[in-house]
Subunit: 136 residues, 6 copies
């Protein structure tokens, strides 16, 4: 009996979108307001989807407290109240777009859960914009 469980989390962070090797004009043209050199920020919401087989004895796919703890330790404590351009080593050399942050979160969770579970991550930058990795 294959089911999926979803668990939500959230963090608040500052970021700026720009490519350092580009001119100011090109950065402004491509990234617009997101290129503010003094940064802006978001309340990020995330949802981790874990799929696999239910344990018939407990009726559970995975212990939700364990999943909650992984999200807290591997995602929220690392990213909450941080500047995504400067404070997170893994994001420092890439653009902190919703797509890339979503992939970073996927890696954090997947590394912990291993092969037993399929993992998918959805990340909302605002209530209207979100990303998902991996895509179908």
């Amino acid at each position: 009996m294959r089911v999926a469980l979803y668990r939500r989390g959230h963090f608040n962070a500052a970021h700026r979108l720009y490519v350092p090797t580009w001119s100011d004009e090109k950065n402004q043209e491509i990234f617009g307001k997101c290129n503010n050199p003094n940064y802006h920020g978001h309340n990020y919401d995330l949802e981790v989807k874990v799929s696999g087989e239910v344990d018939p004895e407990t009726g559970m796919l995975i212990d939700l407290k364990y999943l909650r703890d992984i999200i807290e330790e591997k995602v929220e404590e690392k990213l909450d109240h941080k500047n995504l351009n400067t404070d997170i080593p893994e994001l420092r050399d890439i653009r902190p777009t919703t797509e890339n942050i979503c992939y970073f979160i996927y890696q954090q969770i997947k590394e912990e859960l291993g092969e037993k579970y399929d993992v998918k991550v959805r990340l909302w930058e605002t209530p209207r914009n979100s990303a998902e990795y991996p895509a179908d």
Copy 2:
């Protein structure tokens, strides 16, 4: 032209998570606060997804009033304001986890709709925790 329709429902219920053949200590370790012998409870939200071919004359996949009535009769009237450990015969011998309740709801809807439609059910125990059956 294959489309999906989604319809939401909800019910309020009490439950307790524990395995009767385990010791109190093991139940407390695995299920934590959810093992309170006096029960706790939730506002459950559910979403039924039905997929299939649109009828070109009516422009409808399925009559939404019919789908709403099935959800009311087969799910909400059975589970609303109930104790999921004691009042629902089909759940009495399994753990009323979100995973198992989700599967129970799937069976109720699928039995009624038959082979013509694909069915998927998502069940929220809280706004942060939910399950889905069948998983991709």
Copy 3:
């Protein structure tokens, strides 16, 4: 690295569900309150999902401003504050059900984005009822 991006939009519109070649009695039986000849209306919410490969330089799948502009021009400006039975040529000869409006929106977006991206559209008629095209 294949990801999906989601962008939400919304519009408010009036509509009526009926088949002109049917009798009043049959329209009333099938469409019920939705058959009111003076129309009723909804706040429609939509979510466009776009899937494809991330550009490694920008870290973006697609420019969200461009996606927002397509949704505004091709969907919101055409449908907002309109009567879906009389004001939209493409919908005039079909039933403006959630299923058909969802398909219309899909066509508008897909025509603009072309083969490079996969597109999926979800359309909420109310917070409890929604449709999706294409279905899995």
Copy 4:
């Protein structure tokens, strides 16, 4: 012990904003897109606030089933799936603005509940626009 209880309801309706004695130009200038002669529509959400003294024996201010029934009979059944310009006698000669519909709903509820309770109504035309009567 003075408390307030709140109960939500909703209905879907079509409407048009215009003053019949004005020119088309003036109606267009003042009401813009809301002046579409073929109507547009909304999912209206409402919240009724009732204030008064708690009954010490039952611990209730008012029976919530009774309040729900009043909202259903006096508001939802009258306004749901209707055209607010043509189908509701009390609204026919006034503008169906959020302000005026909110006042109409207040009158419906207050007439039923009488002097024992204070009543306040909030009405959302969209998630971003709402009205309240009476104002503080």
Copy 5:
């Protein structure tokens, strides 16, 4: 400069509504489905409003971490995953209606904050039903 701050919390609990000195028939007539002797339950959401003068040096009315800690210690830890009829001494002899639980929460917070701040509590039993104490 007098402002208000709001902080939300939540807990999940089981309860049953009945008056022990009444007959089963009268309890059923007044409390309906809420009278299930095996209990049902809810996800309760609460919002604490604190009003007073802003400190001009910090720009804060009250330390939000302190307010969050009070809500956790005095409300969430006491009520979460509990049976409101049997596990909470202060509620044992009164009906655990939304009105009475709301007043209990008000007392818990007010006792801690003292005369310096005005306090108001809103408690949602479901997204459609809520109570507030004190009422205006």
Copy 6:
């Protein structure tokens, strides 16, 4: 006939909470994670409440398009995608707490609307924390 109208808006911004004349230790003790010198950020949601008398001819308290334009020009364009510590002259010398930003927004709106209307502003820093000015 005195009514209130509410209109929502939103903006995304970075900020940091600290008092420049305090030691690092004291800033850390009072502001905790909000004191990150590289900034963090939020999706701010706001709701402007305007109260007054309805115009009997139009049935409107105030033109909602005019209110929307004021919120866009005076609030959203000034604050969106900005650093609230460095980019907004009026906030530079005070702490950009939710309380102070809320008061700044009130001043912006009130200055435009004048004596004819009463104005109240509610500002959410996160879905769980918000401020209101003026308080009752």
